[in-house]
């Protein structure tokens, strides 16, 4: 029998339900796995051993009493360090928040606790979720369990790496321009960015408010669906939370793709894509066709403007969202500042890393007097065109299929000094955020060198269940998730 930590969340849940395994056992197994592999992977910023075990004991007591809180009661998971956890330090991988202990839980954290899931700790990420490689973490980069010299992607790279390395059974990440899907693709895991408004942002440290969306990351499509169902709730504390029913993503999960029309956007198969990624995607598309789907050639003509649009809008919103880190009410404060102005500039100048400062600068510039119309407002208008592209295509097809990332995991350090080439990592993922649509990455193969490749599925608003169904149909043929990272 394989190790406990190799189980999927749903497999573990079944064993918890049958009392074959206890939550404490599963949690201890995770903690031991973390102790063994995390010194190499470095997915965790903080492990909350005591908190997780206490929650696991409580879960076991509920199982004994026959009153589990949810199907996943007792399944230990991890949290990207962007989610506020009451009483547990939360830094967003930034120096400026070092030592910050939140007085409240994010809504999704509360929902996981109410569902009985032990929380193993806080996972590394790019500082304030700004990055695609986890290298902008102020603390240390996370390593890809498939090749420790490479990035796990970002910004939810710690979450993806921890899931891939079997340190956690599942995790929550956030996705502003691909931050769930791209690391999922680079680590042979599944990541779902829900429709904007599907999952509450309350208590999630904001990067770009009109684009950010928390979502589940797991090893299997079924786990991803199960986790989504716990966190997809209307939240009266988030004015942008959609007042829609929690989706039932599990009932029709095995229904297959027969009869579905899948759009293949020609703009996504342009130059710049790694040949192995392109080849694997072509093969995957043929397979989907064999499984009964119809492929439709579609066009999203404004795709090439998405990157510029995204960087202007996300940076502008970020420049404002990050204004609160001033060293007055919480977080780090510059030592011995002479006067208030220096307190501000040095706290922020010393507290933020290079990428964060770069984006604050860009955003401040794009919003400043004389440039607002040329940059920010124009980008908002192009955003409308990009949304309309999707609206038109979704009149013809049920979902869109593309690669998740143009390249497999790259070497740590390869792009740190070249922001533009780093930004290109998100070229297939960020249009979906601009349009507010759900997007999912599912493993679809490996390079010859053994690096994972992901396939992206994009859907209509609130159509997560269909994306999961398509992903599951594909996953069923391969079971890539059974392949464990060589760490």
């Amino acid at each position: 029998m394989s190790s406990l930590t190799d189980l999927s969340m749903l497999e573990l849940a079944a064993k918890l339900a049958s009392r074959e395994v206890s939550s404490v056992e599963a949690t201890r197994a995770s903690l031991e796995r973390i102790a063994r592999v995390d010194p190499k992977v470095r997915a965790f910023l903080r492990v909350d051993e005591a908190g997780a075990l206490k929650a696991a004991e409580a879960s076991d007591a509920r199982r004994t009493a026959g009153s589990p809180l949810s199907a996943l009661d007792g399944v230990p998971v991890g949290l990207k360090d962007i989610f506020l956890t009451q009483g547990v330090e939360t830094t967003c991988a930034s120096r400026v928040l070092e030592g910050f202990v939140p007085p409240y839980d994010a809504t999704v954290v509360r929902l996981l606790k109410e569902a009985g899931l032990p929380l193993l700790g806080k996972l590394n990420m790019d500082e304030f979720a700004m990055g695609s490689s986890n290298e902008s973490s102020a603390y240390f980069p996370t390593h890809n369990p498939w090749d420790l010299t490479r990035t796990p992607g970002g910004s939810s790279g710690g979450s993806a790496a921890a899931v891939a390395a079997r340190e956690v059974f599942g995790a929550l990440g956030t996705d502003t321009g691909g931050s769930i899907r791209q690391p999922a693709a680079l680590t042979n895991t599944v990541g779902l960015k829900p429709t904007y408004g599907r999952v509450s942002r309350y208590g999630v440290i904001a990067f770009a408010s009109s684009l950010d969306q928390p979502g589940p990351m797991a090893r299997t499509v079924g786990d991803t669906a199960a986790l989504l169902q716990l966190i997809a709730r209307h939240d009266p504390l988030d004015s942008t939370s959609a007042d829609v029913e929690t989706p039932d993503c599990l009932t029709g999960l095995e229904d297959g793709v027969r009869g579905l029309k899948l759009g293949v956007p020609r703009e996504y198969f342009a130059e710049g894509m790694d040949p192995e990624v392109a080849g694997t995607l072509r093969a995957s598309l043929e397979e989907l066709e064999k499984l009964g789907a119809t492929l439709v050639d579609v066009s999203l003509p404004h795709t090439k403007y998405a990157l510029a649009t995204y960087y202007l809008l996300a940076s502008s919103e970020a420049s404002s969202n990050l204004a609160r880190y001033d060293g007055i009410r919480y977080g780090q404060r510059a030592k011995d500042a002479r006067g208030l102005k220096e307190l501000y500039t040095r706290t922020r100048g010393e507290g933020f890393g290079a990428e964060v400062k770069r984006r604050i600068m860009l955003g401040t510039y794009a919003l400043s007097a004389g440039y607002y119309d040329a940059y920010y407002l124009r980008a908002q208008k192009v955003r409308t065109l990009i949304r309309e592209d999707f609206t038109k295509v979704f009149q013809q097809v049920d979902a869109i299929v593309s690669p998740t990332s143009p390249v497999p995991a790259f070497k740590l350090g390869a792009k740190v000094d070249d922001p533009l080439s780093m930004y290109l990592m998100d070229v297939y993922t960020l249009p979906c955020n601009l349009a507010g649509l759900p997007g999912l990455s599912v493993p679809c193969g490996f390079t010859q060198g053994g690096l994972p490749i992901g396939m992206q599925l994009l859907g209509r608003p609130f159509d997560e269940a269909r994306l999961l169904r398509i992903a599951r149909a594909f996953e069923r043929e391969h079971d890539f998730f059974r392949r464990a990272a060589p760490v």
């Binding site: 989610f83 904001a206 004015s239």
Partner: protein
Amino acid sequence: MPLSDFQTVIGLEVHAQLLTQSKIFCGCSTAFGAEPNHHTCPVCLGMPGVLPVLNQRVVEYAVRTGLALGCTVKPTSVWSRKNYFYPDLPKGYQITQYDQPICEWGELVIDTPSGEKTVRVRRIHLEEDAGKSVHDASASAGQSLVDLNRAGVPLMEIVSEPDLRDADEAVEYLKALRDVLVYLGVNDGNLEEGSFRCDANVSVMPKGSTTYGQRCELKNLNSFRFLKQAIEYEAARQVDVIESGGKVDQETRLWDVNKGVTRSMRSKEDAHDYRYFPEPDLPPLLVSDALRDSQRQSLPELPRAKRTRFMGEYGLPAYDARILTAERPLADFFEACAKHVSDAKKLSNWFLGELSRLLKEEGTPLSALRFTPAQLGELLATVEKGTVSANAAKDVLGEMFRTGRAPADIIAEKGLAQVSDVGAVEAVVDDILAKNAGEVEKYKAGKKSVYGFFVGQVMKAMKGKGNPGLVNELLKKKLGD
């Protein structure tokens, strides 16, 4: 050119705190005077991850105000972020409405020496208040303290067009606006505590010109008197600048209460660039027809309409009507009492005289009055009938005010009723005249000054309770006048 050759031009920006229980974007209390940061939560402290959720009553109050001022209430308005750094601004931006406010283009009619004047209201928008920085004794030298209790208190900003032409008009507009807001129940009108604040945009131009001069924004005008003084000072200052060949700079100036001058507040080096952009955390604000209609239906009669009606319906002079309608509870109480009296002007006299004296002296709010409108009506009828003298009635009212007892009981207990029985008074008059035959002779011989002596003797004999009118009438008759 002398000052008198210049025309002052003024527009007012009024910030009114809305009378809600909770803050605009969170459930913390808006109550004034708590210990620092005792009315704060993650949202109004600007903690990481927090999001605003709009207080419904704030919207209702803005719509109500907009309708009362004849504004267009926009079906869709937009929240924006105003970005700047200040310790009392926890998020580093203020959530406000910028280019798409909730209400636009209304008006307010005011009285001026030359008659009625219509002042245009350009816009009404909603925003959150900032916190407070304090530099008092509890802070050590070189330190300021930040209290965020006020952060997130709902404010409504009402911006007038530059239609005001002197300090008195500005004061009149501000008073009229305050009366309207207080009538609507959306604001308490308290300038001292800062729940009703005013900034003035002041410029000057040569008389007859149609081009406005460069304006300055005046702040710290927390009383009607300061508003008037500051505008007058500032207009004179600007004329001086122009007359000495200079140029007025557009800037923000602070009214210095102690020195009685305005002074420049911000250095130019720190020029502001607020980088407004639409608040992504709040969808556009939608005002439904249903909300607008329900607010329209519940609009109370406004001060000016009420004043006009008081003059027509009760035949009151403008002076009385204005005072009686200045506050809604007083006007309501007057109307309740008016149902029980025949002469509303006499009632008004009691309101403006004895009642307001009592209210002021005792510091009692109208809502805590002990007597009923019917009882006040009864008292006035008693005076009318001559049962008590006007002077005695004042004592009775005082007693009613303090105890809430019925006037008849008070009159009976204190023996304040006048003797108005003709037979009884005539008997005393006859008796006094008979006892003072010598004085009567003198009177009849033309020494009219002894008349007062007769009155005094009669009243003394009747222990002061003779009806003065009747006593006079009978004395004159008996003395053959």
